[in-house]
Amino acid sequence: MSAGFGMLGLAGMIGQGARAAGGGLHHPARAKRVIFLFMNGAPSHVDTFDPKPKLRELAGTVPPKDLYRSPSPQSRFMPSPFEFQRHGGSGIEVCETLPRLGAMIDDCCVIRSMHTNVPNHEPGLLMMNTGNIQPIRPSLGSWAIYGLGTENQNLPGYVVLRPSPNIVVGPALWSNSFLPAQYQATSVITSDMAVDKLVANVRNPLLTRGIQSRQVELIQRMNRLHAERRDNDSALEAQIGAMETAFRMQSEAGRTFDIGREPRHIRELYGDSGFGRSCLLARRLVEDGVRFVSVYYVNSGNQPWDTHSRHNKQHPVLCADSDRASAALLADLKQRGMLDDTLVIWGGEFGRTPYSQVAKKGANMENNGRDHHATAFSMLLAGGGIKGGTIYGASDELGMNAVEKPVHPHDLHATVLHLLGIDHERLTYRWSGRDFRLTDIHGRILRDIIA
């Protein structure tokens, strides 16, 4: 018994006691919460945030092998068919398929020099989500709430939203792994937004609130009697609070998870798509004190952004949907004064090749796709202490390799934890005879992007 609750005690100490001024664990926090918008399958950097005019010049030529591991013999450099436009005071160029995010660019930092270990989905997803290419390690979100505890005791601290249960890798992406179970994500499938479909057992099908409240009163009396006979064993004390919390949670979660309470114009702002509704729900959750929300962009396809064929047709459709919802989220947070301390991250597990993947020999160019690309890609960060209107790092002129100030997911993780007031080198958990941390022995804080 004491080990289990001893663990809780430790967590309690980390979570509540030992905070630095400003709410961080080790130093003042710039961000109080995080929303990670994850584009499953990997969006193309040269069609979103990393313009490459040089590709136009070289269109149709064979990519040299010394730049990137061997593309297939039919592959040719493939420029984005879309224009990039300068936006805002910063004049950062964003693809015309993302007009609304473009309009918000002065609140964002574009990292153009991301790179990761392996251009395969599973390891790429695991690296970006858990800092390790093999399962199963605790996710970024689990580490974050292990470090910070929950803000609202009546809601889970870490929530994962996805419009479909269908997702590559699956729950290992948001696993608490060896961290104790209170750091687990509550995973919610958002295809049906009725509250009792979102959260299991959130509502009693037969008992009214009035009756439940009498029951809770009775239970607490019985628990007291029980604890008195047990010499008020501390383990039992821990359990006693849970019932009342659960009782409150029913109404609180019922309210928070109900996006039907949003006015029509807000719902329309986000767009009526699985991803749009999930983004809106994400905002409601962080507003009510959920610390970490991940929204995975999946639908009936388990990785919609994996455009190996018909890229130029599919990619803009995905962009339009994601652009609308993501920009709505930023604007909505900003209008509520929450963007300053809410970190929003947008991106996928890697990028896509600047050259084509040929769908069929001699087939129409329109059917071509882009393949996985791990040596350069882009991510967008906004709010939560991020310096807006900035570009960090660069890929080469073809988007093949990150050349200036390369950023690995470990560096991104170190930076996210830093913004939350956590020192990634000191947030450790002893398991299996050694201390583990999210960034293993790596991680560099990107101080230049912090406001």
């Binding site: 696993s175 057992n201 029951q215 009775l218 849970a242 659960a246 039907g260 009526d272 699985g274």
Partner: protein, 826 residues
């Protein structure tokens, strides 16, 4: 970089006798130079990897004068006073040799390097005194670790308080208590002992008739009860589940190579059934080990048909598949084998040796080679482990269903086996291949699902067998297959072997490995098991980390008792049931679990077992208990996995590592990807929500109060008594009676009022749903929605069936099920 550590440090440890400047001789200037220019540089840049207090990479310490002069395992001093060019330390910081650059992350500033050079030229003045910890000391410390010493059965001590002694466990516990001036607690009352023994051994509360019987039984009722429970078939269901935590059991594979295997393990359940049967039979633990590692080896003597035993190999095969990465699959097998049986974390040594760890990387690759020479049948060729009744209707039905899928599978298999180049040669286009691939994968999963669910599908086992020509491979430096070191022969761990270590020559070496693990002389095997068994009887352990007895673990409490029990286990033919009986017959086990302030002042965490602990019940026990209270528990044994909406015991539920059922997750179910000797115990509101609102609880409450035995009771007092006995297996206290009666008295006259309220509630729920849905247009992804609904149905078992409102007695019973006592055993 990789070589830098090596060339700096290879082979042999000795403290060199090279004279530096003696501390006493240091001038003020020298001292100041060292303190301002050198010590901070060493401390900030080197100690992290080279100090007695942190790490001793390559046997080198730089936090003492001797360490600096001695150098690391290369045998050469890192500093030769007066001669920077001969000083490896200086060579390393200058970054001139590409193979030896320190610190590894970034070169030191030139000014600092100049200071180091100057310091060495000065004769390396160093005021630091104190003993250096050398690599040799570290090795000796590793070997001295208690867990690697032979188990010696201690003499059972005489204790002052002889009356409290029922068996040697008590003597050994009381001896430790007496040293601290602690007195043992009295034996608990009969009702507490009944409930405790039932939950401990079979994971179910006593049935009403069992409860009545043991409450009144005469003579050695306690011994009789233990015998009955140990003979119960439910015993295996309880204890197999503990083992399934340790062996990361799952019915699915996690990330897979989708061209080679389906998402599920269609026959994982045959391993689960093997475990249940083995516990019920009280299979000697050494045999149990042998079977799980080497059931396929003909040298292993069996008293039963090998087909019964082959599923044991699920121990190795049922881990996650790491998207088909062989190195990771082997790593998982090394991990589970070393943790489950030896309490060692061998897989930590995959990349490099560790400071105080007893397992060198070489050992890791010795085991790696055992499993690299072990293979599995391909999909579809898993070993059949029963005689098929060809003519049975159910088998015929299975075959006819199988044929459809098999046809598609076979039609596409040839193309799937081709390499990309072969496909190009044969003119198979990408589009065509994609179609083939999709059809093939779908057929494979259909076959797997059919095999997992159809009662006529032959019983098979996920076995392994040895490769034809076993061979040894080299160590992968830093875990990287591209950088290979020396050959690592297949053999046992250095730390547990005699000086002359034999090599495993026959087959993969699994059989020999199993023998070395299951040997009575192995200092870990029996201790680790005893610790596990004790944990499930006391909620606490001798060694706090049940899967890690290594050098980093905390030393055991009462090591004498641990060793005595380990010896007892081995002497008694490794019988786990005898171990239970002995433990549970002790007064130590039978103590009350209520704290005592005087004892608690001396041992607040009850480390010395001066009382029993309050134990939190696991998810499976809570669920099974709810079903038993409602009288619907289906006590069928064995077979294919079921979903949680069934009334079978929880051990038969489908365990999906791709998406663990939410309720299991909320109730601290063991993570099916990690060997878990000890579940975490958390208290989260989602657990309370489950008890408050889930159809499972509500429906069982209704059933309980609909029993005739309840409805015929006339008085409130009798009814309260009935509910308390059925739910808590004890009678109510007078205060409880009062509280419950008050609740009943104050409940509004049932039926009509309740009906009205219930209707109102239903209307509200419908209205909210309408509102939430109203803005969802038809373009919502219908397919995704259907999948989600299917998933939810699978998880929750659907909506509540009986929508009649809860009456006041049901509300009372419902409340009692939610109260604390439901979740604990005292």
């Amino acid at each position: 970089m990789k070589k830098s550590i090596r060339s700096l440090l290879v082979a042999g440890f000795f403290v060199g006798a090279i004279a530096g400047v003696q501390a006493a001789d240091l001038s003020k200037e020298q001292l100041q130079f060292f303190e301002t220019k050198i010590r901070p540089v060493l401390a900030n840049n080197c100690y992290k990897c080279h100090s007695a207090a942190e790490k001793v990479k390559g046997g080198l310490t730089l936090d003492s004068k001797q360490g600096v002069l001695a150098g690391g395992s290369s045998g050469d001093p890192s500093v030769v006073p007066g001669d920077p060019q001969k000083s490896l330390l200086y060579q390393a910081v200058t970054y001139k040799d590409p193979d030896m650059q320190m610190p590894p992350n970034a070169k030191l500033p030139d000014a600092v390097i100049a200071d180091i050079e100057k310091w060495i030229r000065m004769g390396a003045p160093d005021p630091r005194t104190g003993k250096a910890v050398t690599g040799k000391d570290v090795l000796q410390q590793r070997r001295d670790h208690w867990a690697f010493q032979k188990v010696r059965k201690p003499r059972v001590p005489n204790v002052g308080n002889r009356k409290a002694v029922a068996n040697p466990i008590d003597s050994l516990v009381i001896a430790a208590l007496e040293k601290q001036g602690i007195t043992p607690s009295p034996v608990a009352d009969r009702q507490t002992l009944i409930r405790r023994a039932f939950f401990d051994l079979i994971g179910l509360p006593p049935s009403p008739s069992q409860y009545d019987y043991y409450r009144n039984a005469k003579g050695d009722w306690y011994g009789d009860m233990l015998n009955e429970l140990l003979a119960s078939r439910h015993y295996g269901e309880r204890w197999a589940r503990h083992w399934m935590d340790v062996v990361r059991y799952s019915d699915t594979r996690g990330p897979i190579n989708r061209n080679k295997e389906p998402a599920t393990y269609p026959y994982a359940w045959t391993y689960r059934d093997y475990l249940i049967e083995s516990f019920n039979k009280d299979k000697p633990y050494d045999q149990f080990i042998m079977e799980q590692l080497a059931a396929d080896d003909e040298r292993l003597k069996l008293r039963e048909n090998r087909n019964n035993v082959l599923p044991a190999l699920g121990f190795l095969t049922l881990g996650q598949r790491f998207a088909g990465n062989l190195h990771d699959i082997i790593d998982d097998r090394i991990d589970v084998t070393s943790k489950a049986f030896l309490g060692l974390t061998v897989s930590c040594s995959r990349c490099h040796d560790h400071k105080f760890d007893p397992i060198p990387t070489q050992d890791y690759y010795s085991w790696y080679n055992i499993f690299a020479n072990t293979q599995e049948p391909e999909f579809g060729a898993e070993r059949i482990v029963e005689d098929i009744q060809n003519s049975s209707a159910v088998y015929q039905d299975y075959m006819s269903k199988l044929q459809g899928f098999q046809k598609i599978y076979d039609a596409n298999e040839a193309i799937m086996k081709m390499s990309g180049r072969e496909r190009t040669k044969k003119g198979i286009s990408r589009d065509r291949f994609r179609t083939v691939q999709n059809d093939f994968r779908r057929a494979m999963n259909n076959i797997a699902d059919l095999n997992a669910s159809h009662p006529g599908a032959p019983k098979r086992a996920h076995i392994v067998y040895d490769v034809k020509k076993p061979r040894d491979y080299k160590v992968f430096n830093l875990g990287d297959p591209k950088s290979q070191g020396e050959i690592a022969p297949r053999r046992f761990l250095e730390i547990l072997s005699p000086a002359k270590r034999g090599e495993y020559k026959e087959g993969s070496g699994r059989y020999e490995l199993a023998q070395d693990i299951a040997s009575p002389g192995n200092p870990l095997t029996a201790r680790v098991l005893v610790n596990r068994v004790w944990q499930h009887h006391f909620g606490e352990t001798f060694v706090a980390s049940p899967d890690d007895f290594g050098n980093q673990s905390i030393a055991p409490v009462n090591p004498e008792l641990l060793d005595w029990l380990a010896s007892y286990l081995v002497e008694n033919d490794w019988s786990i049931k005898k171990l239970h009986k002995l433990i549970m017959s002790s007064n130590t086990y039978r103590q009350i679990s209520v704290s005592d302030p005087r004892n608690a002042a001396k041992d607040p965490y009850n480390k010395l077992f001066w009382r029993q602990n309050v134990k939190r019940l696991e998810f499976e026990v809570i669920r099974d208990t709810i079903l038993q209270i409602g009288g619907v528990l289906d006590d069928d044994m064995y077979g294919r996995p079921v979903n949680l909406s069934s009334f079978r015991r929880s051990i038969y539920a489908f365990v999906d590592r791709n998406g663990l059922e939410e309720t299991m997750f909320h109730f601290d179910f063991a993570n099916p990807d990690l060997p878990t000797g000890r579940r975490s115990q958390t208290t989260v509101p989602l657990q309370a929500l489950f008890m408050m609102n889930s159809p499972l609880v509500i429906e069982q409450v209704k059933r309980l109060t609909q029993e005739r035995a309840f409805s015929k009771l006339a008085t409130s007092s009798e009814r309260i008594e009935f509910l308390t006995e059925r739910i808590y297996q004890r009678g109510p206290t007078s205060e409880e009676r009062r509280v419950a009666e008050l609740f009943i008295d104050e409940s509004p006259d049932d039926t009509e009022a309740a009906l009205a309220q219930s209707k109102e509630l239903a209307a509200k729920i419908t209205e909210a749903r309408q509102r939430q849905k109203s803005f969802m247009k038809a373009n919502a992804d219908r397919q995704a929605k259907q999948m989600a609904t299917a998933q939810r149905e699978k998880l929750t078992g659907g909506a509540i069936k009986d929508r009649a409102p809860l009456l006041k007695w049901q509300k009372l019973a419902h409340s009692m099920m939610m109260a604390n006592e439901m979740f604990y055993v005292h």
